[in-house]
Amino acid sequence: MSNTIHDMGGMHGFGPVEEEPNEPVFHTSWESRVYAMNRAMGPLRLWTIDEGRAAQEALHPAVYAGASYYQRWLLGLEARALQHGLVTKEELAEGKALVANDRPNRIFKPEDAANLTRGSFDRDPQGEAIFKPGDQVQTLNINPAGHTRLPRYARDKPGEVEAVRGCHVFPDSVANGKGDDPQWLYTVVFDGQVLWGPDAEPGTKISIEAFEPYLEAL
């Protein structure tokens, strides 16, 4: 979903930023297992990274805002595993496999961990890029019920295209089950005052990575 609590840029009330001295990579072993399961299941290509995000965005705001980072990953992974029929609620409740399944042909093996490189999101363009660096653009005012990567604070605002970042998988399509629909991706920069008005800190600029369908020429 789009306008959920995950879209929190510019919100107040979450308390101060606090750094933890000598923070370990994982605080508990369950955190490390949750992370590793999420990483290991990526290459099975049962879902995309944006579907994974959408599963977390679907959590109730009270849960999202109250859970820790890895708790959210756990809830998101459980939700996807259930939605895709990999596991059943009864299996999770009992902690063992109860029903047969079509096992995947190929799973992530120990030797695969030698190269944990991310996949590429580059895709062949469907047309020429409409914008170029220096172009003045306006972000659209969209409020879709489905997943999007245009944050609320940067909607309906004028900005400048700073760079073209290639043609990528379009999250608003792929997370909603409509395929890659590749779109040009731009870095669009906004003046702090444009985003926040007189309450902006002076001398700040904020950029987002904006897909072409988020933009119109100014």
């Binding site: 995950h6 879209d7 930023v17 297992r33």
Partner: protein
């Protein structure tokens, strides 16, 4: 839903929210074990592979990779130019760190512009060069504040920059990933890449810190 507040306890923000409380951790732990067991029995994960992934992030894939990249960019002007032109390609020429995906971008701090990275919508982070993000980076306070009041956030990290320096916040809303090339500290002429790397704290590559000066105590971040 238990109601919580600030009455004597630090329940409503900060670390207790990020890490959970003891009594509930064990619930979560059981739930994680259950999920792993079922997924492993059904052939979706190999627990030995999970061990290796965890080990990789606890040892191999961490900010030490980024430190070497930054040190080389400081030491070698050609590498610096290549890094700013195409960070993925430049980093992959270094050979002995894990390959990085196609979408790494390096942004250079200057006296005129200080760069700072955030992901307001989730927690995107260049883990191939910096490892897994620290808790504060993934936290709701950082995600909500960085785009609205970056100078205030920087001051929480002990970073105060001149008024003339523009603060540029990069919100990682797509699959591009950003690493900050901090300003090379003064007094490091002739230093080796290894010596230089020792000054590159993790936060300086996110933009919530500066590279350390020679002789400055090395913090963990």
């Amino acid at each position: 839903m238990t109601i919580e507040d600030d009455r004597g306890q630090d329940h409503s923000h900060g670390r207790s929210h990020e890490h959970g409380e003891m009594s509930e951790l064990s619930d979560t732990q059981l739930r994680v074990r259950s999920l792993e067991t079922v997924l492993a029995e059904k052939g979706y994960v190999d627990s030995a592979a999970l061990d290796v992934i965890v080990e990789a992030y606890e040892t191999r894939i961490g900010p030490q990779n980024g430190q070497r990249v930054i040190a080389r960019a400081w030491a070698d002007p050609d590498f610096r130019a290549a890094l700013l032109d195409d960070a993925s390609a430049a980093v992959n020429t270094m050979g002995n760190v894990s390959d990085v995906g196609s979408h790494l971008i390096a942004v250079e701090n200057t006296p005129e512009q200080h760069n700072m990275i955030v992901c307001t919508l989730c927690s995107c982070y260049p883990w191939e060069v910096l490892g897994l993000p620290p808790t504060w980076y993934k936290s709701v306070p950082y995600r909500s504040r960085a785009v609205l009041e970056p100078r205030a956030v920087l001051s929480k990290f002990g970073v105060t920059l001149p008024e003339e320096t523009e603060i540029r916040v990069w919100d990682s809303t797509a699959e591009t990933r950003y690493i900050v090339l901090p300003i090379r500290p003064e007094g490091t002429d002739g230093w080796s890449e290894e010596q230089l790397a020792s000054l590159v704290i993790r936060n300086s590559m996110i933009g919530t810190g500066l590279a350390q000066r020679p002789g400055e105590a090395k913090g963990d971040s």
